[in-house]
């Protein structure tokens, strides 16, 4: 086992090209129509870390997740040491896909094999077995053949977790994964996320529930357009920091804001 920043990792993981700090944000700014949603953010996410991103509405949390997923243009630097696009799993806040689409739960889960099989290679019996086992792991045993349209919001989220697992993503980005999910499902999914982190996957999740964050997430990033604090959860979620985040976001929207002079 290799030691890195207070944790042990399998050598194989490091040999695969994963540094122990896979993601570093340097001076990251993301703007909509010139107005920054994320403003000069510096932060890093360690390999295998389980990080909560929190902050008031409009703080740029979803934007941060999207930019990490490669879905937005940005200024600044994002270093993803050893990570490729296909290594990223992304669960959006509102899944825009059509729930009446005529595919089964198993079909949805095995989309996770895309990186492995591409357009032409065969999905083997062993892979299908794996997929079924993964569906069991997320609590959907017996649902393989069900049309996705018949799933509840919580079950659909479980199915998306299964897809991310089969994708074998090394970085998993979740935007408010529990917003439409009951306590029981939340507990199950949190368990799965702990398992991911233990297996060396980096997990970054946007969340609002402070107690849930304190209990489950060792690292936290507090956003209010700028990064208020980033690091150990207990050190980040102080009353002072939370009050600061709230006050920063309470500033009124300035339609004619002057150009930012900070170094680009």
């Amino acid at each position: 086992m290799a030691y890195c920043r207070g944790r042990y990792y399998p050598y194989t993981a490091l040999a695969l090209g994963l540094s122990c700090m896979p993601i570093i944000l340097k001076n990251l700014t993301v703007a909509y129509d010139g107005h920054p949603a994320i403003h000069h953010v510096n932060c890093s996410f360690e390999f295998g870390s389980l990080t909560a991103v929190t902050g008031p509405n409009g703080a740029g949390k979803s934007t941060l997740i999207k930019v990490l997923a490669g879905l937005m243009n940005y200024d600044g630097v994002i270093e993803m040491n050893g990570l490729e696009m296909a290594d990223i799993g992304y669960l959006p806040q509102i899944h825009e896909s059509d729930k009446s689409f005529a595919i089964s739960v198993l079909d949805l889960a095995i989309m996770g094999y895309w990186k492995k099989v591409g357009a032409f290679r065969k999905i083997s019996a062993a892979m299908l077995d794996d997929a079924k086992k993964t569906l069991e792991t997320v609590g959907l045993s017996g649902f393989e053949g069900r049309a996705i349209g018949t799933l509840s919001a919580g079950q659909f989220q479980r199915a998306l977790f299964a897809r991310a697992m089969l994708q074998n993503a090394k970085l998993i980005l979740l935007d408010e994964p529990f917003s439409a999910v009951d306590a029981n499902t939340t507990a199950d999914l949190l368990n799965i996320m702990h398992g991911w982190s233990a297996a060396g996957k980096t997990v970054i999740a946007v969340l609002h529930d402070m107690d849930q964050i304190r209990e489950n997430f060792p690292e936290t990033m507090l956003l209010a357009r700028e990064c208020v604090a980033c690091g150990k959860t207990a050190e980040v979620l102080t009353n002072k920091n939370l009050a600061w985040a709230k006050d920063t976001m309470a500033e009124n929207w300035d339609e004619n804001s002057p150009v930012c002079e900070a170094a680009a």
Binding site: A86, I88, Y90, P92, D98, F101, I103, M111, W114, A119
Partner: protein, 289 residues
């Protein structure tokens, strides 16, 4: 009696050719129609059917007569042009696909109307819009068969990524796959299919044979593979039935085929086994769990 009404019309070579063309289209249209429905693009498909009009007209004007090759080529070029400009606008602005497609297809249709008026007569316009199965010659039949074969082959090749792209384009983008590419290939297939169908069915009625069987199949099963099979079966039956009606009543075959397909649609809507009116209105007693 049965022989007279059902078998004997197909002894005539003209009707045989029409039947062969329509059967090929029935199978070739199925995958395109299903994806259009699944992606909620039915009306975009409709706009494509208008979009190919000026190209066919241009082919007609420059050839001076009903030249199948030129009209087909013209239709494909203008159809693809509308697809190209529409997706260019959709990708680079915040305007949605339906708006950009509608914008470019009306431009295309307006150009088509003027071109036909400058050169042609009313009869040609009617044939272009509503089809003329009687006039299908061997060249046309060969073109239809080639287009359908090409379409089915390409569809089989891009099937997996296309389905994923339709269901979850964000997943494809995050995975680093070129999802947009498959979508564009599909739109090109839709154009080629519609151009293949316009001679037999007309630009407007081709859309009917594409969408109605797929929509009907949706009322029976909830799985893309099965929808494909059932949709092709409905389309095939509609083609045979429609051609017979057209033969006996001397009405345009495209419209007759679409009306038979409409019959299947209404039947499926009423008593289908998946989410039909029967399922909605006559719910069985609920199960224990």
């Amino acid at each position: 009696m049965i022989f007279h009404y059902i078998i004997s019309p197909f002894i005539e070579p003209q009707v045989q050719r029409a039947l062969a063309a329509c059967l090929a289209l029935s199978i070739g249209f199925a995958p395109v129609g299903i994806i259009l429905i699944m992606r909620r693009m039915s009306l975009i498909g409709d706009s494509l059917s208008h979009a190919i009009l000026p190209g066919t007209a241009l082919g007609y004007v420059s050839a001076g007569a009903m030249s199948v090759g030129l009209m087909t080529l013209g239709g494909i070029i203008t159809g693809l042009a509308v697809v190209f400009f529409s997706t260019l606008v959709t990708r680079n602005t915040s305007q949605k696909e339906d708006t950009s497609f509608a914008s470019f297809y009306v431009i295309s249709t307006a150009i088509g109307i003027i071109l036909i008026r400058l050169k042609g007569g009313d009869e040609e316009v009617v044939h272009m819009l509503f089809g003329d199965a009687e006039s299908i010659d061997n060249t046309t039949l060969l073109l239809v068969m080639a287009a359908v074969s090409l379409g089915l082959t390409v569809f089989a090749v891009i099937y997996r990524p296309l389905i994923i792209e339709c269901f979850d384009p964000v997943f494809m983008r995050v995975s680093g796959a070129r999802g947009g590419l498959y979508h564009h290939i599909f739109l090109a297939l839709a154009v080629i299919s519609l151009v293949a169908g316009f001679r037999a069915l007309g630009t407007l009625m081709a859309m009917g044979l594409m969408l109605l069987p797929a929509a009907s199949a949706r009322f029976w099963v909830n799985n893309i593979g099965k929808i494909l099979v059932i949709s092709s079966a409905f389309a095939t039956a509609s083609s045979i039935g429609g051609l017979l009606i057209s033969y006996h009543l001397h009405v345009p075959p495209g419209a007759a085929i679409v009306l038979v397909a409409a019959g299947f649609y209404l039947f499926s809507l009423g008593v289908g086994s998946n989410d039909s009116l029967r399922k909605r209105l006559l719910q069985p007693r609920h199960l224990r769990g």
